[in-house]
Symmetry: C2
Subunit: 367 residues, 2 copies
DNA sequence: TTTACTTGTGGAAACGTTTCCATAGGGAGT
DNA sequence: ACTCCCTATGGAAACGTTTCCACAAGTAAA
């Protein structure tokens, strides 16, 4: 009832020394049958359970892993975290979770705390893996760790999506569908090395396909309404026929904003997302996107950490190109093949006036 | 570099006793300016950081809170967990997260582990609050805790949605829209006291509105395809015009299944969900649902736990009726007012043959 | 000068474990 | 009867802290 029983209480109740209790309960070392019984009876009577704190102090091990991610409101991270948590739990480890909200100060503090708590390992997604105070701390303490979703700097292990290659594939898909003028939409560009990787990959892919370099639209508010941003963006780039959003939520928000502007997706504007969250399959039109397996990445990174701890050989990481695939969807539609001179393009099911779109925008704006 | 420095190393480096180091670093008790400086220099030189394990043992406090939820793949829990985590972090507490996957054995073990880890408090959603081994353990240890989403048994604190009242409100909304024959769709009915509450509330609400008692469809697989289930269900209940799904994911799955069966939502079948996840706003038609604020619940429950720990007065819980609201959406559509004798009903925008739907199903089945 | 009280300091106990070591008893081999 | 080696057991040290207490030295009041 009152204070929790300790091993001393058990020893006293069983009429033996604490060493004996420890040996019996941990099955380490000899004990007579009678003693064994007395100890177990005492445990039962006192409802005794070992204190992990005492154990940790003695064993210099906490069986706890720290996990740092930006936010679990994003299902990509939520899935990864859950996958990780399951692996850890099966291995007898618990997981300390800290969400940084994309704030690198919180990130640094979080890691400092985890180190102080003597976690046995750390699984983390940092804002910028090449420049992270927290990551440096972990390295200097030689803590077993793995990055997640970050591009791995030299000497670091990271379970991540091949952002660069995946984004290039998106460019290929736009090209296959005869899109030449595209835009790239990013949120928190500065705070995420992932978004930058995707942008660079997309730029490169566009170049490889002889497309116009993508126009960049960077938004910074987290609000779901991109309507105003999109309106201005499309006015500035009237010949744009497709947008690659750096994640699926942005893509879905873009579709809704387009709807607000009376722009038909995909007839007048094609959208491709990134991540492959389930929701993309539920919307109309379904979202064309890069499909990834966050859960597997989380699980793999966790296993890597465990093998770092145990000194066993880590699981094979998938090759960059196995970390993603293109998911076709209704939000990406072929354009009529363009003329070689790069003239105007039109949607395949002949839409009305190709200038329709911008007209709508201007008309809306004039109200 | 090698092993982490301890307070002894610092003391030795600074040429003083450990007590002095502790006093300086914690600003507890006196110390000469010169000593202070020497200690700080030593800390810097050795890159010293307190071990929380040693501290925990001494202070009998871990500044760690355990959190047990079924899964964070469901955004309802993810949001709640994130809200909780933020509150805890601000108060200087870390959060140990365990997902049970709706498995009560894992749930019990998880709680046992948390108790052994000496967490200072527990935030948890259990399968069945009236009958939970883990919850009993927490109570017997007198650990500060709060339930989350569970209906609170006697003497327990829970931050939860008024499931019963909310479900009754759904019945009201169906009634307002002239639906009389409805169904209730549940997943994991046995494993969730929430689903049962919602069912009971809906049954009561239907009765209050003189509607037919809702037909019950219980599915147990987690697969996203309900098509077969839905087909049989609608065959068994041909006059059914609306379905209340016990959560939004089920509702969305139902809409897609209906689409597979060539049943138009909402013209031929209205759907209402529960939870109010954001995705519901992104689909076409938008999902009518019960809107809840999981993040606030998580934050509130966390604050309650903190005040239990500190002995301060806990935050006010919202009254049952403030925990939810009805979110109108395109998936619920009015029917033409029915005749008093309870005859056939028809969708308000005159749809074709009212038997159309079942006909479609039979037709599809015959292929 | 004595007394009394402050400030600065370090030793040591305590927190709950595990594990090393010592000891006691007993059986088997000489 | 002696040694040798098992099994069973308990004492005590160690892990990294905090904190109680004792002590020394200095200062102010008597």
């Amino acid at each position: 009832m009152g204070q929790a029983a300790t091993i001393k209480d058990v020893a006293q109740h069983a009429g033996c020394g604490v060493a004996t209790v420890s040996r019996v309960l941990n099955n380490t070392g000899p004990a007579s049958a009678e003693m064994r019984e007395r100890v177990l009876a005492a445990v039962d009577a006192l409802d005794f359970q070992f204190s992990e704190v005492g154990r940790s102090l003695q064993s210099n091990t906490t069986r706890t892993i720290g996990c740092v991610v930006p936010s679990i409101e994003n299902p990509v991270y939520a899935d990864a975290v859950q996958g990780a948590q399951e692996v850890f739990l099966n291995a007898g480890y618990q997981m300390l979770l800290i969400c940084t909200n994309y704030n690198s100060e919180i990130e640094t503090n979080a890691i400092r705390t985890l180190v102080a708590k003597q976690v046995d390992g750390v699984l983390l997604t940092v804002a910028d893996a090449k420049n992270s105070e927290g990551l440096d701390l972990i390295k200097s303490r030689q803590l077993p760790h793995s990055l997640l979703f970050n591009e791995a700097p030299d000497g670091e292990i990271s379970w991540s999506v091949g952002d660069h290659a995946a984004a290039a594939l998106v460019a290929d898909k736009f090209a296959e569908n005869n899109h030449r003028h595209t835009g790239f939409l990013a949120l928190n560009f500065l705070n995420s090395d992932r978004a930058r990787q995707r942008y660079e990959g997309f730029v490169e892919g566009c170049a490889n396909n002889s497309m116009t370099p993508p126009a960049l639209l960077e938004v910074d508010d987290d609000g779901l309404d991109l309507t105003d941003h999109l309106k201005v963006f499309l006015q500035d780039h009237p010949d744009l026929t497709g947008i690659f959003a750096s994640n699926d939520f942005l893509a879905l928000a873009t579709i809704r904003s387009a709807r607000n502007l009376f722009i038909k997706v995909p007839q007048e504007l094609s959208i491709v997302g990134f991540d492959g969250i389930k929701v993309g399959l539920m919307v109309e039109p379904s979202l064309a996107t890069i499909e990834t397996a966050p859960r597997d990445l989380g699980a793999g990174a966790s296993q890597t950490i465990l093998s770092l701890i145990n000194g066993t050989s880590p699981p094979e990481k998938p090759s960059k190109n196995q970390t993603f695939s293109f998911r076709a969807g209704g939000s990406l539609m072929p354009l009529r093949a363009e003329s070689k001179d790069g003239g105007k393009v039109a949607a395949l099911p002949p839409s009305d006036d190709p200038t329709h779109k911008t007209a709508k925008i201007q008309q809306e704006r004039s109200t």
